[in-house]
């Protein structure tokens, strides 16, 4: 549809049509449609998720109008779930919006199988005992769970699921994959075909830095017993060598070469993060393994064999000063090598699939290609069950945070939020609802039962952002528990 393509244009530029398709297939369940829940869902409805189901058993009272934008005067006395659902539907008619007028706590208790129909459940303002039950239900049903709470000037967001794997992690800054100190034969041949001492000044100043660096790195190694510059002194000398080859000061390509000269000293082989992934026990695949881990198993074999210790070549070339012809040819050389690597990995994927008793063609070529292109950037996120976090906290971590100035406030909030929940569990109400009781203990949370709109909008924004990452399987979701600090904004992620 042309119109939805235009409507979503600004986000398609971020997560592409694949990401959008994943959103449009997602079924989201929201528990509790106070301001935190309504704001979380608002951002997802705007983005065009497939369906939303709002669960809330309460009726709208006058008080609710002061902090929830998805209600108005006419909602008072009506079902909150129904009212919020109505106003959310207004934002995007492509979304299927439904509601269930029942308290989330009761639903968790009475009807656990209800949750298995969803891609992801967002639990807002839900107290500890229900969160624990819900977490177990969702993990069993393989439904992603995200908990969000706003409390006075603080709040928290926590993802809970067994494992989330990301191929297209789209990191902000990532070193490009140029293999300058380890060129394969085709690249070497191309570099050799170019004369750095060209007498044509236009050619000289338009020889791409990849060619310059490969050539001069080779030259350096030949005169240094096969070693590349490693000490600071040597690196400076190498830069001087580059400078010495310039024939005019405005040669951007040489300036780019000097700036990129550190790339020739890049250590060979794969990163520690990728090392951990290929050595993960999940990479020992069987018929129950996910496609991701099957491809990791193939990647591991590739690195040990054809790759010679390296991951498949990414195949993309950053823009650099160059003659068009040189650049386009270089691009083709990088792409051809990437394609060869993909074929090798694909062969291994097919063999592994056969070995574990699956259809050899079960994983598409385009998925394997995308996996190879992103092989250096793979990400695996795992989250402890919430029950483990609550029942067996890691005292060493807590201790470390408490004495760290940057973390102590956040950890204080965490403990207080937990204390509030314990209190609620024992006394069946939230402290702060009745003035004068219990204030001393937790006065530093100030306004315990309060759901300020701005805080709810912040927490809802964070929660929806994480939901988008989980559903699109792009970008890396947060790890640990996010503790919002609305006092000075020194919020923290706690690994607990």
């Amino acid at each position: 549809m042309v119109e939805s393509k235009t409507k979503y244009d600004r986000q398609l530029r971020i997560w592409g049509e694949q990401g959008q398709a994943a959103l449009e297939q997602a079924c989201i369940c929201l528990l509790g449609c106070g301001p935190t829940g309504s704001e979380t869902l608002k951002n997802l409805v705007l983005g065009g998720v497939g369906s939303i189901t709002i669960v809330d058993g309460s009726k709208v009272v006058e008080d609710d109008l002061g902090n929830n934008f998805m209600l108005d005067e006419s909602s008072v006395g009506k079902s909150k779930a129904k009212s919020v659902c109505f106003f959310l539907q207004e934002l995007n008619d492509a979304v299927k919006a439904k509601f269930v007028e029942e308290s989330p706590e009761a639903l968790i208790e009475r009807h656990p199988s209800f949750f298995s129909q969803f891609t992801l459940v967002i639990a807002t303002q839900l107290v500890e005992p229900s969160v624990l039950k819900l977490d177990i239900i969702c993990r069993q049903a393989n439904v992603m769970l995200i908990c969000a709470r706003s409390y006075g000037l603080t709040g928290l967001v926590r993802i809970s699921l067994k494992e989330h794997t990301v191929i297209d992690s789209k990191p902000d800054h990532f070193l490009d994959d140029l293999r300058l100190n380890n060129p394969w034969p085709e690249l070497k041949r191309f570099v050799e075909s170019i004369d750095l001492n060209s007498t044509d000044p236009v050619v000289h100043k338009h020889t791409p830095y990849v060619v310059i660096l490969v050539k001069l790195a080779d030259e350096w190694a030949n005169s240094h017993g096969g070693c590349l510059p490693s000490t600071r002194e040597e690196k400076k000398k190498f830069k001087d060598l580059l400078k010495g080859r310039m024939i005019a000061i405005d040669e951007d390509n040489y300036n780019e070469a000097i700036e990129a000269s550190f790339k020739i000293s890049a250590s060979p082989g794969i990163s520690p993060a990728l090392h951990r992934i290929i050595n993960d026990s999940s990479a020992e695949v069987d018929s129950t393994s996910s496609d991701f881990w099957v491809m990791v198993a193939a990647l591991k074999e590739f690195i040990a064999n054809e790759g010679g210790g390296e991951a498949p070549l990414e195949g993309s070339l950053p823009d650099m000063t160059s003659l068009t012809e040189y650049y386009v040819n270089l691009q083709k050389i990088y792409q051809a090598k990437a394609e060869t690597d993909v074929l090798a990995v694909e062969q291994r994927v097919r063999n592994i699939l056969k070995r574990i008793g699956r259809e050899p063609g079960a994983i598409s070529k385009s998925n394997i290609k995308s996996f190879c292109r992103n092989a250096r950037k793979l990400s695996v996120c795992r989250y402890r069950p919430i029950e483990d976090e609550f029942n067996s906290p890691m005292p060493a971590e807590l201790q470390k945070y408490l004495i760290d100035e940057d973390y102590s406030i956040a950890v204080g909030f965490y403990i207080l939020l937990r204390a509030v929940d314990r209190f609620a569990a024992n006394y069946n109400r939230i402290p702060g609802v009745y003035d004068g009781v219990m204030d001393e203990d937790i006065s530093c949370l100030k306004t315990i039962a309060v759901e300020l709109h701005a805080v709810a909008a912040f927490i809802g924004g964070i929660a929806s952002q994480e939901v988008i990452k989980l559903i699109t399987k792009q970008f890396v979701p947060m790890s640990g528990t996010f503790i919002f600090n609305g006092i000075d904004h020194k919020s923290q992620l706690l690994a607990l």
Binding site: E3, K7, Y8, D9, R10, L12, R13, I14, K42, N43, L46, G47, D63, L65, G66, N67, F69, D72, E73, L91, N92, G152, L153, S169, K170, P171, D172, H206, D319, M320, T321, S322, T324, Y327, V328, D435, S443, C444, L445, K446, T447, V450, L452, A454, V455, A457, F458, G461, I462, S464, Q465, I468, K469, F475, M478, G486, I487, D488, H489, S491
Partner: protein, 446 residues
């Protein structure tokens, strides 16, 4: 309007209870909400992705007197995040629709829309607000509003900012999964101009690359847009909002890419490159606006200490938030005490205009000049120019009521990175040979 006290239950709990995280001059009490609702006037600059969120957040944080200014009309591409707009609103002014939608939903809030350019408003308009919230995507517009807010700042004789002249600002910005929120208390925390280096100008492709050695799809697009268009359409200027123009650039870019064997030219990329489109999503805007609105609430009520002074959010790889305490630029032309100019009492307004045009720190062309709210000279519109023209031959000393020194405001054009942009400067004028006879230091009066 009758309204039960219950509506503001949650806000009241924040404002009525003491706690140990509040700012030192916080005194809890019901009058705080009254103050917020009666006296606080907030201006929201921009009714786009951030502006829509800000209006909602402020209205639900107890602010009642809100103005919003935006010169744009609603487009289909806004609808994925600017949640106050519907498909049937496309083409209408953003400020007007946004104000209407929030007033419909939140009773008791009054939002006045201004469908115009920020430069179209007089300084007086801006001086009426207790706080300004910026939801903008342009550096130039931020710079302008910043200068306006800083122009109200007055200093005492020891160059300390006068508390009551500080016009606080909260500013947000987003790009994809990243964003920032900041608090600017002119004279106390760095203003936008003090930290202008945080916003490096966009790098442009060298024309010779476009013409001779294109390598990327963007090079081909910019060639069609910046070079080929003018060659073919002599005199007709390119309009990025005209789909036929965009289609033409796209097809030319495709031809050029084929000629050079360059992959990747698409219509979407063509639009992105030509219009310099910044990707934008609802969730990031929600996060950043909420932080700004919360700071506005805290600044106005003192119910908690505030962000000091720059928050960055990055959600690409995990979740990173960071607070940086930037420091003021001592000699900032915008938020400092002002550029000092020593003048003879005989200098006419005409001569003064020439002086600031040549002054190396200022290089200000086409200036309009005001002194304590009084217009001394206006460049435009022609009616006003004519009315003020007679002042040009009068001595500035006389026009400034023969005080020995004082501050005047100059609104003009300056060139930055080769681009002309409007700017507002505060100048400290001291007349030579007049000592403190009138005993009027530059911060008093008004």
């Amino acid at each position: 309007m009758a309204e039960s006290a219950g509506r503001w239950r949650d806000l009241d709990k924040l404002l009525l209870r003491p706690g140990n995280i509040v700012s030192p001059n916080f005194e809890p009490g019901p009058e705080l909400r009254d103050d917020l609702q009666t006296y606080a006037r907030v201006l929201v600059v921009g009714a786009g992705g951030l502006g829509c969120e800000l209006l909602k957040d402020l209205a639900l944080s107890g602010f009642r007197n809100i103005d919003v200014i935006d010169m744009d009309r609603i487009e289909v591409t806004n609808l994925n995040r600017q949640f106050l707009f519907r498909l049937q609103d496309v083409g209408k002014p953003k400020a007007e629709v946004a104000a209407m939608r929030v007033m419909e939903r939140v009773s008791g809030v009054n939002i006045v829309p201004h469908f115009c350019r920020i430069e179209d408003k007089e300084l007086d308009f801006y001086s009426d607000f207790t706080i300004i919230a910026l939801g903008l995507d342009s550096i130039e517009a931020r710079s302008y509003i910043n200068a306006v807010a800083c122009s109200f700042l007055e200093y005492d004789s020891d160059d300390n900012p006068l508390e009551e002249s500080i016009k606080p600002m909260v500013d947000g910005g987003t790009e994809g999964f990243k964003g920032h929120a900041r608090v600017i208390l002119p004279g106390k925390t760095p203003c936008f101009e003090c930290t202008i280096w945080l916003f490096p100008p966009q790098v442009k492709f060298p024309l010779c690359t476009l013409a001779e050695t294109p390598r990327t799809a963007a090079h081909c697009i910019e060639y069609a847009h910046l070079i080929k268009w003018d060659e073919v359409h002599s005199g007709k200027s390119f309009d990025a909002d005209d789909p036929e123009h965009m289609q033409w650039v796209f097809s030319e870019a495709v031809k050029r890419a084929e000629l050079f064997g360059i992959p990747g030219v698409t219509y979407s990329l063509t639009q992105g490159v030509v219009k310099n489109i910044i990707p934008a999503i609802a969730s990031t805007n929600a996060i950043i606006s909420a932080a700004c609105a919360l700071e506005a609430l805290k600044i106005m009520t003192g119910c908690s200490k505030t962000l000091s002074n720059y928050l960055t959010y990055n959600g690409l790889e995990g979740l990173h938030t960071k607070v940086t305490e930037f420091v003021r630029e001592k000699d900032c032309l915008v938020c400092g005490p002002g550029v000092l100019l020593e003048l003879d009492t005989s200098v006419t307004l005409q001569k003064f205009i020439e002086l600031i045009g040549e002054h190396p720190k200022l290089l200000l062309s086409k200036p309009s000049i005001t002194y304590r709210g009084k217009t001394l000279y206006m460049q435009a519109p022609p009616v006003l120019e004519e009315m003020t023209r007679s002042n040009l031959i009068l001595p500035l000393y006389d026009l400034m009521d023969k005080v020995s020194k004082d501050v005047i405001h100059v609104n003009g054009m300056t060139s930055k990175n080769d681009a002309k942009q409007s700017c507002l400067l505060k100048l400290r004028i001291v007349f030579k040979g007049i000592d403190g006879m009138t005993d009027m230091d530059m911060a008093s009066g008004a």
